[in-house]
């Protein structure tokens, strides 16, 4: 009779005996590290904003508990005291809770990276853990994903570091967040992530060539995935964040792992689920759609009437058309709750109101003849008669006076008063905080919600409400609809996400970049990095020559540079080849004759041949190296005759193999110039010689 919370988990782990004893842990990041909810999140941290009258963090904790998590670390930063108070009062901190919640607060966290580095520093996790944000609403059963993750780690000796949970949902679904829209290329069989990119409304996307040459039989490029922001991480993830102090977010991490995959050998996998529901409330548009999904019971069993937070008096009843009513709700004569309506306790509604698709919090009063459609009202809101509200958020304590009309996507932050007799245009944001306070704060960090606000300024501007904007009795300041001063690369920083200006181009089409042999640049993450890297390599080699450093150490140094600049192995080789071949020009100017050039280059090749050999191993590497050589000599066309000598030398030094050279010669030509190059007499002779040498079998080889 095992009716314990951890039952599900135990059932799954029985196959892996050694891990059975370890409780499942989770890291919950209760800070968004951005300002999407900004004027609202100034007064209340995002994790505590109510969704269906329940704080968002409660959904996340319930999700974790129901998947069998027994220990959760909640990291908070912005307004950590509020979160702490909330959690201490909730059922999670009762002694009987199957999920032990530890609250860790620090004002120093600026990103997810900081949190995970702290996890590593404090040595909190001992085993695979689940990483979520405090605003994830989900009922996905991740035990299957967990099992797959553990199995992979067992089979492949800790190669897989992370399994991301995605939900299938086709484009156009309203709970797909435009900002989080991703294209993922994955190996069909092993579910390994090969490429991960946010689309950000792009019409054309580029895929690196190596995912096509990856060697697995099948792979998929998918755009029908919804990122649930739930990831199963191995303890290495925290270590990797510590090692790479530039990782800020999970996408940094994913990108980093994918780029360094060949070297570090770490892989990321994907778990795609069709059942269950999972979404992150990352902006108000998502808030809207997650709320309505919740009321429409997509997140069952996390429904409003389930009262899973176990708070006294929070219960409500569910009746037809998804109408939920809390205790002591009064409804005036002639009022209709049409469909998908949730009304919190002690709320009274006047006569002849029409309410549909709305969530109304506790203790609200609503007057007569009010029309609410897709309105989200939090607690203690007062709405007078003859008000019309469409698709808007009204926060705690706000007052809407008579005959006010809120058009789409308005936001009334805490304690704002509006009206009477006013119509707010679409997308208006009203807050008791003056927008200029925020701009001043903007100078320091734009990353986080957590700026302490200079309250002194508040008082000086107290009188300056503009009656034209907020009505004769209004209180509050209008915020600009879009804060274009933030230099974010993402399109909109505004509360409602991208919807304000529906992007006709958002239906992005994916397209694999067609590349051939001369794919030198297109793969690179950023050209600047490549150039910087090239300079560094040059410097390293120079120093190596001057100070007579052993080639092994040079290799070490180049490898570390490679990480610093996020360069792929292939590029390292191309750049190395280039740098070495250009070295005489660098040292003695470009006016060298071909003879002088070869004279100074050949000894260098000999010295650095171990470095080359370290990087050129597979047949593909040989071809890449050759194409780099070819490219250089195409640029330096006066020295084309030297090319044969270089090739000969490299062949003799066993840097290049003859098959590779022959293959390159026969197949490599793609354009006129390179065909011209191949007509070079010396080269032809060299090739012929190589061919003969091959015919006369191995003795001639050297």
């Amino acid at each position: 009779m095992s009716s314990r919370g951890g039952k599900q988990k135990k059932g799954n782990v029985t196959s892996e005996q050694e891990e059975e004893e370890q409780p499942l842990q989770a890291v919950l990041v209760a800070d968004s590290f951005n300002r999407r909810f900004f004027p609202i999140s100034k007064d209340q941290p995002r994790a505590l904003l109510p969704l269906g009258n329940v704080a968002m963090i409660d959904y996340t904790l319930e999700f974790l508990t129901s998947t069998g998590v027994q220990e959760t670390f909640v990291f908070c930063c912005w307004m950590s005291n509020k979160i702490k108070d909330h959690l201490l009062k909730s059922k999670w901190c009762r002694p009987t809770s199957p999920n032990v919640v530890h609250i860790i607060t620090s004002d120093l966290y600026r990103s997810l990276g900081d949190v995970l580095r702290d996890v590593d520093a404090k040595n909190l996790v001992r085993n695979d853990f689940i990483l979520v944000y405090g605003d994830v609403v989900s009922n996905i059963d991740v035990s299957q994903a967990l099992q797959e993750h553990r199995h992979r780690r067992k089979v492949d000796k800790n190669i897989s570091v992370m399994t991301m949970v995605f939900k299938e949902s086709s484009p156009g679904h309203k709970s797909r967040c435009e900002e989080d829209d991703v294209i993922v290329a994955m190996d069909s069989k092993s579910k390994r992530v090969l490429h991960y990119q946010k689309t950000q409304g792009l019409k054309k996307l580029q895929f690196p060539m190596n995912i096509f040459q990856h060697g697995s039989d099948e792979f998929e490029v998918r755009h029908d995935l919804l990122d649930c922001h739930i990831s199963i991480c191995s303890p290495q993830v925290a270590e990797l964040f510590t090692d790479n102090f530039d990782y800020q977010t999970r996408s940094d991490f994913v990108r980093g792992i994918l780029v360094n995959e060949e070297i570090l050998g770490n892989q990321i996998h994907l778990y795609v689920t069709q059942d269950g529901y999972g979404a992150r409330v990352s902006n108000l548009q998502m808030y809207d759609s997650v709320s309505s999904d919740m009321v429409r019971r997509w997140v069952y069993p996390l429904t409003p009437e389930a009262n899973f937070t176990d708070q006294q008096g929070q219960g409500c009843t569910h009746s037809r058309h998804n109408v939920y009513r809390g205790a002591e709700v009064s409804l005036g004569q002639g009022s209709q709750m049409e469909e998908n309506v949730l009304i919190g306790r002690d709320t009274s509604i006047g006569a002849n109101c029409r309410i549909s698709n709305s969530v109304i919090g506790n203790n609200c009063t609503i007057g007569d003849n009010v029309v609410l459609d897709r309105a989200y009202m939090w607690n203690n809101v007062h709405i007078s008669s003859n008000v019309e509200i469409h698709q808007s958020v009204v926060c705690d304590g706000a007052v809407v006076k008579e005959a006010v009309r809120l058009n789409k996507q308005c936001v009334l932050a805490y304690n704002v008063v509006i009206g009477p007799n006013l119509s707010l245009p679409e997308g208006t944001v009203v807050s008791m905080h003056h927008p200029e306070e925020e701009e001043e704060d903007d100078d320091d960090e734009f990353l986080s919600d957590d700026q302490e606000v200079g309250h002194s300024k508040d008082k000086t501007r107290q009188k300056a409400f503009n009656p034209a904007e907020v009505g004769p009795e209004g209180k509050g300041y209008i915020w600009k609809a879009s804060m274009d001063d933030t230099e974010d690369e993402e399109l909109a920083q505004c509360l409602w996400g991208l919807v304000l200006n529906p992007d006709p181009e958002s239906d992005s089409e994916s397209e694999a970049s067609e590349e051939s042999q001369d794919h030198s640049r297109s793969v690179s993450p950023e050209i600047d990095d490549v150039n910087a890297f090239q300079l560094e390599v040059l410097g390293t080699l120079q120093r190596g020559l001057e100070e007579n450093i052993v080639c092994d150490n040079l290799v070490l140094e180049i490898n570390s540079l490679k990480y610093a600049y996020n360069i792929t192995l292939k590029e390292v080789m191309q750049i190395l080849t280039r740098v070495v071949l250009e070295y005489p020009f660098q040292q003695q100017g470009t006016q060298l004759t071909t003879l002088q050039y070869t004279g100074s280059l050949l000894p260098l090749l000999k010295t650095w041949s171990p470095v080359f050999k370290n990087y050129i191993k597979r047949p593909q590497d040989h071809l890449d190296c050759l194409s780099a050589v070819e490219e250089l000599f195409l640029e330096q066309d006066t020295h084309q005759t030297a090319m044969v000598k270089v090739l000969m030398k490299m062949y003799q030094l066993e840097i290049l193999e003859e098959e590779a050279i022959l293959k390159w010669f026969s197949t490599g030509a793609t354009n006129d110039k390179s065909r011209q190059l191949r007509k070079n007499q010396g080269l032809q002779k060299f090739i012929k010689w190589l061919e003969e040498a091959e015919d006369e079998s191995s003795e001639e080889g050297e």
């Binding site: 009779m1 009716s3 919370g5 309203k174 069709q274 059942d275 019971r297 069952y300």
Partner: protein, 355 residues
């Protein structure tokens, strides 16, 4: 202090059970059969009886009633839990009455005279303390557990009286009781079972696999074909989630259409329902009667844009009115729907109908 330890252990148990109830069923109805649920509830109640602090029957009843309220609130659709709480309350009343020396009979008799003169058995009458009350109550709960363990077998034993050779039997969805019933009959008789798949959860598939493994000739049909096939069917045997006080059913979705088709063809409709499914609830209690789960099965989440334009509902239960039902087969024998009220008064004390 060991007492305190025990207390926390038991509250932890209760919390875990409640949490389980709340999450109960990820869409396909309860994860466990209601038989198991009944047993688990009874185990838990036995533990509360044994470990909680109480001095008189009244205290104990109050404790159990409180816990019972929370359990039923956690998952109102799981009526078995409430039923078991009522059974245990009834046991306590009986044991208390026996300890007091008054015969059970007189306590139970409901005469018009008694209703008029006294206010029934009121709370202060339970204040007397008895040394052996605890042991007696636990003993009686153990008896109840034995009864629960035997229910499915008891029902299955009656199979041969109802199923004859070469009959065509129809059933809908999956019921453990019906499965055992049919398998028992299959040991002696040869017959054909038609299983309606019961979309959208298609529990019927599972049922059909189970039956065909037992060597029963089984056919799965789509729900739409129920009416067409009904003319060939000799008997319809289905399970149910709850038997309501009026003799109606709260059964799996689709049961109503089967019942109507059976009535149209005058095919007998037999319900296999153990006694613990008998609930004093009436079908008019709208709010808790239905259970709506995630619409995922009706219109998958992957459907995309359309979802924001339509409202999709996915109810789990159907109400089958009593007049469509021919016979109930319970662990104590066969009964007509009109007799349910009588069974109800035998099983539960009228004061316990409302927890």
């Amino acid at each position: 202090m060991p007492g305190a330890d025990k207390e926390t252990a038991i509250t932890e148990r209760i919390e875990a059970f409640l949490a389980d109830l709340k999450r109960g069923g990820s869409g396909t109805g309860p994860l466990r059969g209601s038989g198991e649920m009944a047993r688990e509830t009874t185990y838990l109640l036995r533990r509360i009886t044994a470990q909680a602090r109480w001095s008189s029957a009244g205290d104990l009843m109050e404790i159990i009633r409180n816990e019972g309220r929370r359990m039923t609130a956690a998952q109102p659709s799981e009526t078995t839990v409430g039923n078991m709480v009522r059974r245990v309350l009834k046991i306590i009343r009986e044991e208390y009455a026996r300890s007091r020396g008054s015969s059970e009979e007189t306590e139970q008799q409901e005469s018009l005279h008694k209703l008029l003169t006294s206010g029934g058995l009121s709370e202060e009458n339970f204040r007397q303390q008895f040394v052996h009350l605890k042991a007696n109550v636990i003993e009686a709960i153990n008896e109840l557990l034995t009864e629960l363990d035997g229910t499915t077998d008891n029902i299955a034993m009656q199979a041969l009286e109802h199923i004859h050779s070469n009959e065509v039997i129809m059933t809908v969805g999956r019921s453990r009781t019906v499965e055992a019933f049919l398998k028992d009959a299959a040991r002696k008789r040869k017959f054909h079972v038609i299983v309606a798949e019961c979309a959208p959860f298609c529990q019927g598939h599972e049922m059909a696999t189970g039956l065909s493994k037992a060597g029963i000739e089984t056919t799965v049909i789509a729900d739409a074909a129920i009416f067409a096939v009904m003319s060939r069917v000799n008997k319809v045997i289905i399970g149910t989630q709850t038997v309501l006080a009026n003799g109606g059913l709260r059964a799996v979705n689709g049961a109503h259409s089967v019942a109507l088709a059976a009535r149209h063809h005058s095919t007998p409709l037999i319900i296999c329902a153990p006694m613990f499914k008998l609930s004093p609830q009436f079908p008019n209690e709208e709010d808790t009667f239905h259970k709506f789960v995630s619409p995922h099965e009706m219109l998958p989440f992957t459907a995309g844009e359309i979802l924001s334009k339509v409202n999709v509902h996915c109810p789990v239960f159907d109400y089958v009115p009593p007049e469509l039902i021919t016979l109930f087969i319970s662990n104590i024998g066969g009964n007509a729907p009109s007799y349910i009220y009588r069974l109800m008064s035998e099983l539960y004390h009228p004061e316990d109908h409302e927890l």
